[in-house]
Assembly symmetry: C2
Homo-oligomer: 432 residues x 2
Amino acid sequence: MATTAVSVVDVCRSAQRAARALARSDTATRNRALRAISTALLERAPEILAANERDMQAGRDAQIGDALLDRLLLDHDRLAAIAAAVDQIVALPDPVGEVIDGHRLPNGLDVRKVRVPLGVIAVVYEARPNVTIDATALCLKSGNAIVLRGSSTAVNSNAAMAAVASEAAVAAGLPEGCVSLLSGDHGELAELATQKHYVDLIIPRGGERLKAALEEVATIPVIYAASGNCHVYVDASADPEQAEAIVLNAKTQRPGVCNAAETLLVHSEIAPVFVPRILSALHDAGVELRADERTRALAGGVASAGDGSSVSSLTLAQATDEDWDTEYLALTMAIAVVDSTEEAIEHVSRHGSGHSEAIVTRDTASARAFQLGVDAACVYVNASTRFTDGGEFGMGAEIGNSTQKLHARGPIGLRELCTFKYLVEGDGHIRV
Amino acid sequence: MATTAVSVVDVCRSAQRAARALARSDTATRNRALRAISTALLERAPEILAANERDMQAGRDAQIGDALLDRLLLDHDRLAAIAAAVDQIVALPDPVGEVIDGHRLPNGLDVRKVRVPLGVIAVVYEARPNVTIDATALCLKSGNAIVLRGSSTAVNSNAAMAAVASEAAVAAGLPEGCVSLLSGDHGELAELATQKHYVDLIIPRGGERLKAALEEVATIPVIYAASGNCHVYVDASADPEQAEAIVLNAKTQRPGVCNAAETLLVHSEIAPVFVPRILSALHDAGVELRADERTRALAGGVASAGDGSSVSSLTLAQATDEDWDTEYLALTMAIAVVDSTEEAIEHVSRHGSGHSEAIVTRDTASARAFQLGVDAACVYVNASTRFTDGGEFGMGAEIGNSTQKLHARGPIGLRELCTFKYLVEGDGHIRV
């Protein structure tokens, strides 16, 4: 496996050679490799956990904080979960070789549009070392070679896991170079992101800083698994009970993820009834609120909340312009009153990040207008934004959620890690 | 319509507003706009031809050469052909709203993956003014707003045609700003290629210089309608007659286009018979040949060609390393002898541009190996590379051929000018 002694371009060149062999490999071989990785992770747990302990110690010395330390930590349970996730990917259908489309042309030529691997995929990621294995399993399953580039915080954990994965995959019959890990040195990112002869796609998995760093330097195709500034719009005709359940779920079920809602929009006709109710419910759920003027005016009438406290306009923070553009990733929500579905769409167009947007309504015209008018990967009617997820969508695993419009939009599963080619068969056909 | 007085960012912002309305427009309205454009091109022919004459005069003054002048020229017949091409796009099925995929999740949520317009597409093109209308018709048909940026050589022709198209489309009910033309000023390209808030895709239609210029500056997604260094590989088991017909067709039927073949590879087992035959045939067709040593050695035995001349190793130019990477776009062909299908695949991997590659063979194993092993948009068995074309593939029209792997590969038709979104419908569904 490639280590620090080898240059970025050498790693990528070797990955491309591996990719050519992988493109011709069969499903059985690739699945055997994934099962071998899963087994090796458990068999070689001691060396992986020892490597992780070195990272943990370095992290404690550098005082990186409890949250980061927890993300960095591996133990037997976590390793078992990582191995189990690989087994789940084994069970997924192979995207390679799927015939997407096909027909016979009037001149008798047979055309098939067939799914094939992209080639070499680079994955750049931050602290969480499980990505080393998750991304490797998804890329190998879809017939791609992978070049990994983790963070320096997890350098020992990543190196141990990538070595285990690479050795297991090669022993199971996949080509040398199918899994490589770069050292994590400074400067590598720019070099990796410009390997247009060798790398077909780069996927950053991390925060906005990583995204910005890549935007700066990348000349090869990038799919950003990006942030989500998601909205729930409660229409005039919404069932208040359903609306409350959806808002609470979208905001509080797991606030730190990209498909959690950040802003609530309420139609002015239902606002006098719904705003006090939802403010109280969100308050009870521990959500900090940032409201526009109209919401604050309605908050005066809020009944005493379940815990005896109450939400009034006095305790409701005034939303600033910045709030509408903020992905809190926390128990904080911005709220505004709008006068129409059109105004809600306009707000979402201006501030949304194109991830997941929901309307709660009983009116078919509003539902249709919202679905047509909102430009996002996933548009929900009467359901929580939290469902945007490869697992929930039945794709099996995912490597992230794309908010861009080309190639992959929404969950990036095995199919999205592929391209296609046209196979055309004739019998001496020439063009006249 | 936007003209020189308006900044690039204003044009793009206005295009985005138009795109939002276009995304909700129905097929009938968009088709009506296309028919109005087609009609207006003929009704307003005098002003278009007058504008074209100004460009022609400037071109003659600047001595741009007969070939470029011919590409620039518009007359009644050419305008009629441009209008007819628009009518053909009217007749194509609307890609917008197509349900690509859909199913009900175990929890009862209904998921549909629906094709939707990309939004704003920028098309950057060189001399040929017909692109102004072709690209506009394809973008409007697929529900996208278009920002055009032509060359300064055709500035008057482009402005006249874009004005006609824009006015006709708006009169037919499409939003203001759906068709805009930039002035063609220096510096605009870099500004256009970085409008990440307003432009969803930029498509260059031009030569390698335009591609290089864009690679330098673009931060928004680009689909390169790129060059084709295409090969025909004649396998040991090929039918010589079929092979000759395919090679001649791929090389000579229209040598100046991207799907024409540039290099011929011949298996060493068939080479003693086939090389003299194909050299003679290519020579008769006026093709200049660049051959490797082994081909030259076989050329000595070439029989007298049809015109009484003969091809011998003495008149066969030696191919240089550069030849294998050259897209001649002319009646020139490089030839090499290889010892196996594997070696042919290896040559294509090293030198091909991922466009169109063909094998001529009677052996199923060779055909399968070539299809699996060659990484290109279109891989042919016993057919000419010249079939790579949206029209030939039954897509109707195309805006070019993509040699990249993400989003669009091969002909870029109406579907490739679209993205998709997931529409998810529930009845109060929340994630547990």
